[in-house]
């Protein structure tokens, strides 16, 4: 039994949402954020970030494929999870998950990747051999039409899909924020700001992730890093981080000012149980420091090596900070009693189904999937291969 201080309702002592439920919003946040970065180029025509366009899409896909896993591992009866598709309870934000996920995966991400890569897929279906050839042929859906007109149609449709992909990404992650924000029973969660804060911190994490992945990939391939690209990404990271920080401060200040019935209990919790994860990790090291570093980069053009080092540090701290934010929301919301008279503790198990080892494995898995995706659909070919004869369709 966890250690209890003060009084908790007897059924509240155990935590029901574990580190896996911290992971899930973190992963979908990375998906949404990576997609928003991709849309910067496609829809908002920020040309500078084009080198990361395909990488951002593949990153989003890799993380999206892993996203349901922490949920399945957490469920008491994962074999019944299909019920969310067949009898979704429309008053429940969580019921939206199945459909929003499916929509985003199939109608947005997969279709957009397919449309963008189609010329390359067709080329590779004719140039490779063995099982790869079969795989690419399946992916062509039997059509090898890569005429300029077809590609132009693909481009227009891809633009349109990216356009609806932006609110879809917002929905994919915003509803997670609403899952927490709409629980009136829990004053740490219940807030209209919650979905908004989730979305902006998601964007921050996704942008930081793609920026880091781009720099690491270029390093591994011994290719030069496009400084104009990373400078632009870092700038957008800064802007969105400032908005995100403002929103979180607004929530905090509002709470402190109104000081409602829950305030004393929550304030005590933040200053004791959540001191390291919230004050030190999330705010000081994870938000203020990266914002400071990135701001300094705006005032003077430092040497590329310096900029790369600073961006790496800032990006890494950002990723840690957003994880800490999810932790503080999910775990923090369960550490205090709804009687406002006590606190419990959460110790992450090591080897259980909802333990630390599983969580680490779930965080490594997307990178493994991304590696496979990069091998199958290289993001580095920015020009489609020379058009081959299209077969009569």
């Amino acid at each position: 039994m966890p250690h209890v201080e003060g009084f908790m309702y007897p059924n509240e002592i155990a935590l029901y949402w574990s580190i896996l439920i911290v992971l899930y919003p973190y992963i979908t946040g990375l998906v949404a954020g990576a997609f928003i970065l991709a849309s910067l180029e496609r829809v908002f025509r920020v040309e500078a970030v084009k080198p990361t366009y395909r990488l951002a899409l593949l990153t989003a896909l890799a993380f999206l494929l892993v996203a349901p896993l922490p949920l399945q591992l957490h469920l008491g009866h994962p074999e019944r999870s299909y019920e969310m598709y067949f009898t979704p309870h429309l008053t429940s934000a969580m019921a939206m998950f199945g459909f929003v996920y499916l929509w985003y995966l199939m109608a947005v991400l997969v279709v957009e990747i397919w449309l963008d890569y189609r010329a390359d897929i067709v080329a590779m279906s004719q140039s490779t051999t063995g099982w790869r050839r079969l795989l690419y042929r399946i992916m062509t859906l039997g059509s090898t039409n890569v005429s300029p007109r077809a590609l132009r149609i693909d481009d227009r449709l891809g633009w349109f899909i990216t356009l609806i992909g932006i609110p879809s990404a917002v929905l994919l992650h915003g509803y997670v924020g609403f899952i927490f924000g709409s629980v009136k029973a829990n004053p740490w969660w219940s807030s209209a700001l919650m979905p908004v804060v989730f979305i902006f911190s998601a964007m921050v994490s996704g942008i930081a992730a793609v920026m880091l992945l781009y720099m690491v990939s270029m390093k591994l391939r011994r290719e030069p890093i496009d400084m104009r690209c990373v400078d632009t990404i870092a700038r957008y990271l800064l802007y969105i981080f400032v908005i995100d920080f403002s929103l979180e401060m607004l929530d905090l200040i509002h709470r402190i000012y109104e000081a409602d019935a829950s305030f004393r209990s929550l304030d005590f919790m933040v200053h004791t149980k959540l001191y390291f994860s919230q004050i030190v990790l999330q705010i000081y090291i994870g938000t203020l420091l990266p914002i400071l570093l990135l701001t300094i980069m705006q005032f003077r053009k430092f040497a590329p090596a310096t900029r790369k080092a600073v961006y790496s540090v800032a990006g890494s701290l950002t990723l840690i900070s957003v994880f800490a934010m999810r932790w503080n929301v999910v775990i923090g919301g369960q550490l205090f009693s709804k009687s406002f008279l006590g606190y419990t503790t959460y110790k992450v198990a090591l080897v259980t189904r909802e333990g630390l080892l599983v969580s680490i494995a779930l965080m490594i898995l997307p990178f493994f999937i991304l590696w496979i995706l990069i091998k199958l659909l290289p993001p580095w070919i920015t020009k489609p291969a020379a058009p081959l004869e299209s077969s009569t369709t």
């Binding site: 008491g76 009866h77 019920e83 009898t87 309870h89 899952i179 008279l341």
Partner: protein, 244 residues
């Protein structure tokens, strides 16, 4: 007493007939139970609660409640220095074995508060269930379909009163069922049956003869956390302002 088989054969039907007559006097116990004729709740009379914990123990026996989790529990409040905003509250093992004895406090008071699922008419827990595994019946009892529940625990998070938990063996949500299997047969709940002072009384709000109507008319009653607007149907008489 030793009963022979013959005596039993006479006694049992006689008892059954007698039982029917006894039951027929209590209007809510008709053999054919019609859900729409009932709207269940409970009345808890705080000044009558002696903190014996019989209700908690009885509920556990009736419903196979796992150790460490509670479908009903009793809290003991100690208001010190007449400070209503910061009471000392304990609930050792849910109050199942009673509470340790205390000495008189001249500047404060003690009292017991039994708690259970409030079977809310506007329950936030049924609102958030993603698959329809928890619901309110037409007769006002919030139940969990444990064959359908996925164990996501969203309902546990959404309950403002802390009355739900995830069953450690079945891995589904669990909570007080208002002894649905008893009340549909004209019996009362296990906790009400076991309460020695009548501090807990099952109430059928749709039954005009139910004593709750007279009680509600003549006593000021409260529900827990009224600001949550849950439509709670467990009414408390004499609920102190310090109760959380």
């Amino acid at each position: 007493m030793n009963i022979t088989r013959r005596q039993l054969l006479i006694l049992l039907p006689a008892a059954a007939i007698a039982w029917e007559h006894v039951l027929a006097g209590t209007p809510e116990s008709a053999p054919n139970y019609t859900m729409t004729e009932h709207w269940w709740g409970m009345l808890i009379d705080i000044p009558k609660c002696i903190g014996c914990g019989n209700c908690v123990a009885a509920c556990q026996k009736e419903n196979d409640v796992p150790d460490g989790f509670f479908r009903t529990w009793v809290e003991r409040y100690h208001v010190t220095d007449w400070n209503l905003t910061n009471p000392e509250v304990i609930s050792p093992d849910g109050g199942k074995e009673g509470f340790p004895a205390v000495k008189e406090d001249e500047n404060g008071k003690y009292f017991f508060v039994p708690k259970l699922c409030n079977h809310c008419a506007d329950s936030p827990c049924t609102q958030v269930c993603p698959v329809g595994a928890t619901f309110i019946t037409p007769d006002g009892v919030v139940l969990i379909d444990q064959k359908y529940c996925m164990g996501c625990a969203y309902c546990v998070q959404a309950c403002p009163y802390g009355c739900r938990y995830i069953h450690p063996v079945k891995h589904v949500a669990d909570k007080c069922t208002l002894c649905y299997h008893r009340i549909t047969k004209g019996l009362t709940t296990a906790c009400c049956e076991a309460c020695p002072t009548g501090a807990r009384q099952l109430a059928d709000l749709k039954n005009p003869k139910d004593p709750i109507h007279e009680f509600l008319k003549t006593h000021p009653v409260q529900i827990l956390k009224p600001q949550m607007a849950t439509g709670a149907k467990v009414f408390y008489n004499g609920l102190d302002g310090s109760v959380r």
